[in-house]
């Protein structure tokens, strides 16, 4: 065995406990990263399978050709197509069946009187498509809705709301509709499409309650006859479709749905976990650097002895790096195993908390194996690089001195570098926050600030210990004096210890401040512009909830105690070629309720633009 490797291995064996913290930090970071990647791949693959199964019988989808996509949304909002198009399509040779798919918001009220879902995933209602091949939902129990007021509910929703076949409840569309559950459905073999709630009504009910005007559907699902391929079907359909309406294959449609779920749900989920793994690895960087700095300092005499006996600088540096490499590889491997374990555990846990995790084996791609391993090893070796180089620079004569003198620490150069770095960090942060708002710039500034504090640590710790430790000598006598001197003896060591704590506090502050800011921002946006006395809203989050009935504003207005009531709705419009999310309302009534003065200029310019654009349209109510 190579001499420096043998030295590192025996040293590691002798100081196992010293590396426990470092090991754990790397394991956690790598585990989060690996777990996130495996989890994301597995979910994506499962959703692929699920949508593939669900939409298997749909060979083509006919829909409005252009979509308005607002920033942050992967799938745009499309204009509905006329249901009368179904008859045209059915006449095309090779078409076995066609059915309109009418969709809208519909939130069911559970047996306990509470609405079901609405805290993120969509709450959907639609027409129950009678052709089983075209309907992504399969009837599992009961029968399809046959008369007005009958509905089929996906099994997951029914279970969550405590609803059984024969139960009568309310469906908020948002106008309340009394419905009776007559059947339970599954989606792609699961109890539902993730947490999405689905209520299937008769076509007549759907047209009546879910669309602004009857005779409109979100899309038309088409099934091909025997021997007609999906693309062939699309090619045959395209000529008969009116302008502005397109046909896509069922496979494309399923892929779009998977993408939508991926971007709405998976991206959020994986980003969240990736942030955690990033923080864990950042902490790991400090922990590793700290551990190795201490190891190298403690081993000054040993390294000096090696240098005296003829170990080259490179051998001593390589020895320290070899130690780091052993820690890196074992910890990363353990983290990898842990990450796959986390993914497997979540897969088992999700169904237990009522989240239908699609079946399927864990998907472990080469990337999810190699990336975390590489990141773990690079972070570990990178953090150990400086201490290792310092080890290599040990003078052979240091072996002959009793103790190594720590000259680094509160040097002038350090103070100047640190201050300069801090100034730069503050400048970058301020520019990122105030001048050109940019999360990346602000984030870079934050990391730089952290780095500058690490550089300034020994300077600050010396001052802090001197001040904080001053009363110690009076309170604790000679032990107090000793404690203070010990902390002062190696400001770097003191700072390194304090640095680990600093990172911990920084992470906690980050989340606390972030959470509080988010809440304050929401409160402020409402209270700043709100000039009314009472706001009526339906609690919902994300794509869930049914919103409020447009008729509600009028009804509230009728109350004798109310002076003015105005409804606010959401919509999208294409402004100068870009999709924008808009709030739609009655401007006359609005003026009395909202304080529009500060932003008059803005609304004045945007409103005509929106109305000038022929593609501006109101698409949702509530």
């Amino acid at each position: 065995m190579n001499a420096s490797v043998r030295l590192s291995v025996s040293s590691l064996r002798a100081h196992k406990r010293r590396f426990a913290g470092t090991f754990l930090a790397v394991v956690l970071g790598v585990a989060f990263l690996a777990g996130t990647l495996v989890m994301g791949d597995t979910l994506r693959a499962s959703f692929d399978t699920m949508f593939g199964n669900a939409a298997g019988g749909t060979d083509a989808v006919v829909r409005s050709a252009d979509a308005i996509t607002t920033p942050g949304e992967s799938q745009g909002v499309r204009q509905p197509v006329g249901t009368d198009l179904v008859r045209t399509i059915e006449r095309v040779p090779g078409v076995a069946a066609a059915a309109p798919s009418i969709q809208g918001a519909g939130q069911l009220v559970g047996a306990n009187g509470e609405p079901i879902g609405g805290q993120g995933p969509p709450t959907l209602a639609g027409n129950w498509i009678t052709d089983p091949e075209l309907n992504p939902y399969r009837l599992a129990e009961g029968h399809a809705p046959q008369k007005s007021g009958e509905v089929v509910v996906n099994r997951g929703t029914a279970e969550k709301g405590g609803l059984a076949i024969g139960d009568t409840t309310t469906l908020r569309t948002p106008d309340p509709v009394r419905v009776t559950v007559v059947g339970l459905a599954t989606f792609g073999g699961e109890d539902g499409m993730a947490q999405v709630t689905y209520t299937g009504m008769t076509r007549a009910d759907a047209e009546k309650y879910l669309t602004a005007r009857p005779g409109k559907a979100a899309s038309i699902q088409v099934r091909a006859g025997p021997g007609v391929g999906q693309q062939e079907l699309v090619d045959r359909l395209t000529p008969v479709l009116p302008k502005g309406v397109e046909a896509i294959t069922g496979q494309e449609s399923a892929a779009e749905n998977t993408d939508m779920i991926s971007s709405q749900f998976l991206t959020l989920f994986t980003t969240f976990l990736l942030v955690f793994s990033g923080i864990a690895l950042l902490v790991a960087t400090f922990s590793i650097h700290n551990t190795f700095a201490i190891v190298v300092a403690q081993r000054t005499r040993e390294n000096a002895l090696l240098r005296a006996l003829g170990a080259s600088r490179r051998q001593v540096t390589a020895g320290t790096l070899a130690e780091a490499a052993v820690v890196a590889v074992t910890a990363s491997a353990a983290g990898l195993a842990g990450g796959i374990g986390i993914a497997a555990g979540l897969q088992a846990l999700f169904p237990a908390i009522g989240f239908p995790f699609p079946d399927g084996a864990l998907v472990i791609s080469a990337l999810s194996l190699l990336l975390p391993l590489a990141v773990g090893v690079v972070v570990c070796l990178g953090s150990a690089l400086l201490p290792a180089a310092r080890a290599g620079r040990t003078a052979p004569l240091a072996a002959l001195r009793e103790t190594a003198v720590d000259t680094s620490g509160a040097s002038r150069a350090r103070a100047l570098t640190g201050t300069a770095l801090l100034a730069l960090a503050l400048a970058v942060t301020l520019v990122g926050v105030l001048l050109t708002p940019s999360v990346w710039l602000a984030g870079l500034g934050a990391v730089l600030t952290l780095a500058s504090f690490v550089v300034l640590g020994p300077v600050a710790s010396a001052t802090a210990v001197r001040i904080l430790g001053a009363p110690l000598s009076r309170l604790r006598g000679v032990t107090g004096v000793l404690a203070r001197r010990n902390a002062l003896r190696s400001p770097k060591r003191t700072a390194a210890t304090a640095g680990a704590l600093m990172i911990g506090v920084a992470v906690v502050s980050l989340f606390t401040v972030f959470g509080a800011s988010l809440k304050a921002t929401m409160d402020q946006t409402v209270s700043r512009s709100f000039a009314g006395d009472v706001a009526v809203s339906a609690p919902s989050f994300g794509a869930g909830g049914s919103g409020l009935s447009p008729r509600l504003a009028g009804a509230v207005q009728e109350l004798p105690e109310v002076d003015t009531a105005v409804g606010l709705g959401r919509g999208v419009a294409e402004v100068d070629g870009e999709g924008r999310a808009l709030t739609v309302t009655d401007p006359v009534a609005l003026d009395r309720t909202f304080d529009l003065a500060p932003s008059t200029a803005r609304s004045a310019t945007s409103a005509p633009t929106a109305s000038r654009s022929p593609r501006a349209r109101r698409t949702s109510r509530g």
């Binding site: 190579n2 025996s10 090696l306 080259s312 600088r313």
Partner: protein, 249 residues
């Protein structure tokens, strides 16, 4: 056998000057020392504290550099070597025994003995190493760690390590400084026997007349200058000579 035996010097310094610090506070640790350490002999450097004997050894062994003058190991002028070559020279041609902290605590006795060879990536002369282990009497301790050995045993391991690579010269810096007299005697006997039986060269720094008595020759240093040499020393003779330094002049 020729009548003019030229004794080759294993190491030598010529006009060695070592100054620490500068200006008014400059300390002349070595103030123009010239001395040969003949091959195949056991030389002791004696002198009171602050005489510059340790500095002389560090500079002669390539652990430190001279301010002026030259230091040679064999024919190699150390001042012409960069850090890397100096390191290689120490590894391949010099052995060391320090006063304390001679051994790498995490390596076994056997691993410590072959450490310079391992650093060079050489196997060395295994018979020689094997014989050394017997000479220092540590065969039953080969797989122990230094912490499990007594101070005397640790110094014997250091002696074995110093000779393992068959160096041109072994420098010993107060090798018995931390030992009781019995263990110290064992280590000194070991050094002396090894020199005489294997024609190796040892240069030992000491302030102990008893230790110096084991050497073939003693050089005396005072105030950074070479003041005397003594052949075939005994502890008593060295002690008498040392007393002369302490007499106020």
């Amino acid at each position: 056998m020729t009548t003019t035996t030229v004794t080759r010097a294993a190491a030598r310094v010529v006009d060695a000057v070592k100054v620490y610090g500068g200006g008014d506070t400059a300390v002349h640790a070595l103030d123009g020392v010239s001395v040969d350490f003949p091959a195949g002999r056991f030389t002791a450097i004696m002198g009171p504290s602050g005489s510059g004997k340790s500095t002389l050894m560090h500079c002669a062994a390539g652990l430190d550099t001279l301010t002026s003058g030259t230091a040679r190991i064999g024919d190699t002028d150390l001042s012409t070597l960069d850090d890397r070559r100096l390191t290689l020279l120490r590894r391949d041609r010099v052995g060391f025994v320090f006063q304390a902290f001679n051994l790498v605590p995490t390596l076994t006795v056997a691993e410590n003995i072959t450490l310079p060879l391992d650093l060079a990536g050489r196997r060395g002369d295994t018979e020689w190493v094997d014989a050394l282990i017997d000479v220092v009497g540590l065969r039953d301790r080969l797989h122990h760690r230094p912490a499990e050995l007594s101070g005397g045993q640790q110094q014997r391991v250091a002696v074995a390590r110093a000779f393992a690579g068959q160096p041109d010269v072994v420098f010993a810096d107060e090798p018995t400084g931390n030992l009781d007299s019995r263990s110290g005697g064992e280590v000194l006997g070991l050094l002396g026997r090894t020199v005489r039986q294997t024609r190796r060269t040892v240069v030992m720094v000491t302030h102990d007349p008893v230790a110096a008595g084991h050497a073939d020759e003693v050089v005396f240093l005072a105030d950074g200058r070479l003041v005397d040499r003594m052949d075939a020393p005994t502890a008593d003779k060295v002690l008498d000579r040392m007393k002369a330094f302490e007499v106020p002049s």
